[in-house]
Amino acid sequence: MRNLIIFIGKHHFVLLFIILEIISFSLIINNSFYQQLVFLSATNEMTGKVNNTVSNITGYLNLKETNRQLAEENARLRSSTMSSFIKTSDSIFIINDTLYRQQYRYVEAKVIKNSFNKRNNYLMLNKGSDQGVGKEMAVITSNGIVGIVNEVSKNFSSVMSVLHKDTKISAMIKKNKYKGTIVWNENDYKTGNLIDIEPHVKFAVGDTVITSGNSHIFPEGIFIGTVKSFSIKPGDNFYSIKINFSTDFNRIEYVYVVKNFYKEEQLKLLNTQKNE
């Protein structure tokens, strides 16, 4: 026992280092599990307030650009409303609401913290569970996809960006509907990768890539980007395709959080499939 105490006294520096290093690595490894969620929800409120203040200040600097984007989107939406179409036929339209039920609802939110230059990037939004934001909801801008909500507190939410090594989003090439997966293995926030496209698929540089609607998170047809370059290595079963993101991750300020009203139903069905 005495020897042990002497040993600890002699090597306390190394021992303390090892203990603290183990603690920090367990923090990293638990990153995707329950402990971190508890920890983050507790701190989100606190760090959220700090980030909110910073964002309020920097928001003023980008007002011009934001206004331009909003005006652009307004113009696009206005041109698609009924009143901007001229009636060409006199036949009677019956609008029956039971035919269309709303599946997606969009909540507008402001980005109060954004990162895009790390290997794994997150954003923080100023809306949380009190405003109807929940986990695993899609986050998009008027230009394209942004990410998926991974954590919510009462008034803030944290979004796992597309620029993250674990983000996988189901996508398809718009013109021929072949489906693949969007991942991010680049260092550049402007480029991403589309994988799982088979060699027989025909497409060209500049083709549009959109979300496929195969997941319960993203609605179908959200713009992702355009094909930048592609290649196939001999012996590979899939193309490796680089795409240009349509979203400018450097300048995201306002986003929409997409709530899928039928998510539970879809998931329930999916689970029964798995069980059988």
Binding site: F17, E21, S24, L27, Q36, L40, V54, R119, N120
Partner: protein, 171 residues
């Protein structure tokens, strides 16, 4: 002694705020992320006990982690940096550090030795941080390149900040 504690705590708060509010938003060409909060670990006094050095490094890393959503990563990197600090100081020592009024800065160490000291420790910190963040070997050289650019930039900022903020002793 009390004076030292207070000035180091003030420096800690100032550096964490500076890192979180300003330097986390600095990105040149998507490659350079300066982590200037390591100045805190660099400038702890020579005669700090080993356990306090490690605990301070753990604490500053954890604070940065909480604010930048990278739980554990900065903590691990700054701990490793603090662990290496006594060894590096021993190698670079001139034997005069036992005088308690000397601090690790440009004025007491000299430009050359301080830059070398900062460069080695910042390299240790950044390399471990970037590799922990990436966590896969397939991107070895790309990660190395990112780390290298950030190391050079952080070292530059650290050395310049020495002239901007700390005063030499008036003799």
């Amino acid at each position: 002694m009390n004076d030292k504690v207070v000035s180091n705590i003030l420096r800690l708060i100032f550096l964490v705020a500076l890192q979180v509010l300003i330097f986390n938003n600095v990105n040149f060409s998507g490659y350079i992320n300066p982590y200037i909060y390591v100045i805190f670990i660099l400038m702890l006094p020579f005669d700090i006990p080993g356990w306090l050095l490690l605990v301070s490094a753990f604490f500053v890393g954890l604070m940065i982690d909480i604010f930048s959503n990278t739980l554990g990563m900065h903590t691990a990197a700054s701990l490793f940096m603090a662990f290496c600090r006594p060894g590096i100081l021993k190698v670079l020592s001139t034997g005069k550090e036992s005088e308690t009024d000397l601090r690790p800065n440009v004025y007491d160490m000299g430009l050359y030795r301080f830059t070398l000291y900062a460069l080695i420790l910042i390299s240790i910190h950044h390399l471990s941080y970037f590799y922990i963040e990436t966590f896969r070997l397939s991107e070895f050289f790309r990660t190395f390149f990112r780390a290298l650019l950030s190391i050079l930039f952080t070292t530059l900022v650290v050395v310049l900040s020495q002239y901007a903020f700390s005063k030499g002793k008036t003799k």
